[in-house]
């Protein structure tokens, strides 16, 4: 399938390795990946912080860039959640019926990576090999906005060599929440400390998730504690093979 990669500005800038891994997995499965260079940011940070009028041009831009594709895939549940669940609200705020129509056309074609692989393509074994102790944190937007369910776990279970350890209270938010992490830094940190305790309890060496934003928060906490546990995006585990290891 001809797939457009929606990298997200955050991954583009901070986590290029996740983008490279996403390309690798999609190409390994025979998809033709395109990367529209005109893409920038979906507008989530602006929209969720209240700067919603400022987000509208970014919504228009996104729709224009990605409308021509059959499928749009992103290694981020949160940014896909913005497009699928909140773009209609943005179009209503803009009082633009045409934009609302375009958004509703595009939204069902935009997928988070794990749901694209498992739900859209019916693939769980992507030929990955990852001989490590791994625990998985389901991020809130992939879980509750996109309802990806067990798709990421199904993918992880099919990875050869992996030792998957269950995370206690996994469904509880890690405390990132976008600008919440800065505006309400104390509460965010209190939530993070409980998440870190649960991650450390698993004795896993890697904590993975489908969103680098949450992982940067969890990983930043682990690093500050010199905890010896690293965070790795799901796409990177799926991209890793016997040859590469």
């Amino acid at each position: 399938m001809r797939v457009a990669l929606f990298i997200t500005c955050f991954n583009d800038t901070f986590f290029p390795e996740t983008g490279r891994a996403t390309v690798e997995v999609l190409e390994r499965l025979g998809h033709e990946v395109e990367f529209p260079l005109a893409q920038t940011c979906c507008g989530q940070m602006h929209f969720n912080t209240g700067y919603q009028r400022e987000a509208i041009p970014l919504v228009r831009r996104f729709v224009e860039v990605f409308a021509p594709y059959e499928a749009v895939v992103a290694p981020s549940g949160s940014c896909v959640g913005m497009v699928r669940e909140l773009y209609p609200m943005a179009a209503e705020l803009a009082n633009d019926k045409r934009l609302l129509y375009e958004v509703e056309e595009l939204a069902p074609k935009v997928f988070e990576l794990s749901e694209f692989l498992v739900k859209r393509m019916g693939v769980t074994d992507v030929g990955a090999y990852y001989p490590h102790h791994v625990t998985y944190h389901p991020t809130c937007h992939s879980l509750r906005m996109l309802k990806v369910g067990d798709a990421p776990l199904e993918l992880l279970r099919a990875v050869r060599g992996i030792d998957l350890v269950e995370l206690r209270e996994a469904r509880e938010c890690c405390g990132f929440g976008g600008t919440f992490a800065v505006k309400n830094a104390d509460t965010s940190t209190a939530m993070l400390s409980d998440k870190l305790r649960h991650v450390l309890d698993t004795e896993a060496e890697v904590c993975t998730a489908g969103d680098n934003s949450c992982l940067m928060h969890i990983g930043g906490g682990l690093k500050r504690q010199r905890a010896g546990v690293r965070t790795v995006h799901l796409a990177e585990i799926l991209a890793s093979t016997e040859e590469a290891n």
């Binding site: 583009d12 986590f15 290029p16 260079l37 700067y51 469904r171 800065v182 940067m216 928060h217």
Partner: protein, 496 residues
């Protein structure tokens, strides 16, 4: 007894209410509170999940509850007039209160007309909203809270920190100390049945003496005029049946169309709130007791607006008025679990409070305006809400209203706000590919004084909140798009 209350969102000086982040800092440092709340919310959360799991038609019940409440919101005027007619027909008196002041005047007037110096009350959040107890005190009338948890916080001179379990922030040992001091209970253990007995002895006397009882209402049926209180202890039953005069204060949004609608709500409410299949006491009354002489012979229903009709004007925000006060959203909220209810500075704490409070008191006050930001938008609240209030959506919507209010009404100060300036600049950068790619390069260069070994340990200014507890990943040497361009040869390859 003097009640010590700091300004909250419903006080006259609501503009001076602290912000959530200021108050949360204090709560988060209270280790006993963290322990009490963590234990209580985790327990009830698991019990609720089990109680809901039993119901094969739960999702359909939720949808029915949502649809009924939406109908009430759309036709509130009609249902309220019908309710007034039904209550009057059954021998009750209906009063309309525009705001807290009017509501308090009406209720105090009724108490005075009966020469009541003491009144008994059963948990009513609406009377906390209107600050009825303080008002009555000023009029020389003492109000005794009879719900056990309400009694506890009244004796402690505190305010409620939870919609359903107002004293959730206190543990047994703390309650024992309080009862020993305030009720003079001797030889008291911290066994729940001992504590309950001490309260019972104290309350029985109040119930039997009081001429006027004051209650809240969970629902009132427009069709029949039947008012309903749902509770666990039976103190509400006594409060609404023993005194000869009963006054019920009810927010106008609590009306439901027909008697049969209880079928939906009585299944949704107990399981969502106390995780019970059915709550122990559900009291229904229609007007006054005519023949049996059992129950009050005078009944007043006070219908309170206090900002609610204003909320109706906001098509997206008004779903907050569908709330049936079950408090499931508080119990699952990871923010509430850690900060507790007092950090919200409102009688309505937690996720529902964060969307209800700023709408009821109006946008433009720093304290209430901070509440929609007291959420990581994790969505756990929406998942459990028995009437499907899309709380995250309303939180986001209200953040928009707060921001636009600051931008449009804040004058020069609003425009010069550093967050506003940064957001505007970033929006411009994101709207142009060349500016965006330039900014990526600039950030990579600009971070060098901060970055060590791929991490940033300390950020300046407002962003310092991040690095107080977390390292920040440094921007790597190559962006994804730079890699893509290099890999695919032509820089424009793959561009749409």
């Amino acid at each position: 007894m003097t009640l010590q209350r700091s300004p909250d969102a419903f006080s006259a000086d609501a503009g001076k209410t602290p912000t959530f982040e200021q108050s949360a800092k204090v709560s988060l440092a209270d280790t006993q509170l963290r322990r009490n709340l963590g234990k209580a919310t985790q327990t009830i959360r698991a019990k609720r999940a089990a109680a809901v799991e039993e119901m094969p038609d739960w999702e359909r019940l939720r949808e029915a509850g949502r649809a009924l409440k939406e109908r009430v919101t759309r036709h509130l005027d009609e249902y309220l007039l019908r309710l007034e007619e039904s209550v009057t027909r059954a021998g009750g008196h209906v009063h309309w209160a525009r705001d807290a002041e009017e509501s308090n005047r009406i209720i105090a007037g009724i108490a005075k007309a009966h020469d009541a110096e003491e009144v008994v009350k059963v948990k009513s959040i609406a009377t906390d909203e209107t600050k009825l107890n303080e008002y009555l005190e000023g009029e020389g009338i003492t109000a005794h809270e009879t719900d056990l948890a309400e009694l506890i916080i009244q004796l402690a001179g505190e305010t409620s920190s939870h919609i359903l379990v107002p004293a959730i922030h206190k543990n047994r040992a703390e309650i024992r100390e309080l009862f020993k001091e305030k009720l003079g209970a001797r030889g008291l253990s911290d066994d729940p049945s001992d504590l309950t007995n001490a309260a019972r002895l104290y309350l029985r006397e109040k119930f039997l003496k009081a001429k006027v009882g004051i209650s809240g209402a969970n629902f009132a049926v427009a069709e029949t005029g039947t008012v309903c209180v749902v509770e666990s202890e039976g103190n509400g039953r006594m409060c609404t049946t023993l005194p000869p005069v009963l006054v019920t204060l009810m927010g106008i949004e609590k009306v439901i169309p027909a008697w049969r609608d209880y079928e939906v709500f009585m299944q949704l409410l107990p399981r969502s709130s106390t995780a019970e299949r059915m709550n122990p006491y559900t009291s229904f009354w229609t007007g006054v007791s005519r023949e049996s002489g059992d129950g009050p012979n005078e009944f007043h229903l006070v219908l309170l607006d206090n900002g609610r009709t204003g909320v109706l004007a906001d098509e997206r925000g008004r779903q907050a008025l569908s709330c049936i006060r079950c408090s499931a959203c508080l119990n699952v909220c990871p923010v509430y679990e850690r900060t507790g209810g007092h950090a919200y500075n409102s009688v309505y704490p937690g996720p529902i409070g964060a969307i209800l409070t700023p709408q009821l008191v109006g946008i433009g006050k720093p304290g209430p305006d901070s509440l929609p930001y007291a959420s990581s938008l994790c969505g756990a609240c929406y998942e459990v809400c028995p009437v499907k209030i899309n709380i995250p959506e309303v939180l986001i919507h209200l953040r928009g209203r707060v921001t636009r209010h600051k931008q449009d009404g804040g004058g020069l100060k609003g425009r010069l706000d550093p967050e506003n300036a940064a957001m505007k600049t970033m929006a411009r950068v994101f709207s142009d590919r060349k500016l965006y790619e330039g900014a990526q390069k600039a950030a990579r260069v600009g971070q060098w004084p901060l970055a060590r070994d791929g991490a940033i340990g300390r950020l300046p200014g407002r962003l310092a909140g991040w690095t107080e507890s977390r390292d920040l990943k440094a921007i790597p040497k190559q962006t994804f798009r730079e890699w893509w361009k290099a890999r695919n040869g032509s820089p424009e390859n793959g561009s749409a």
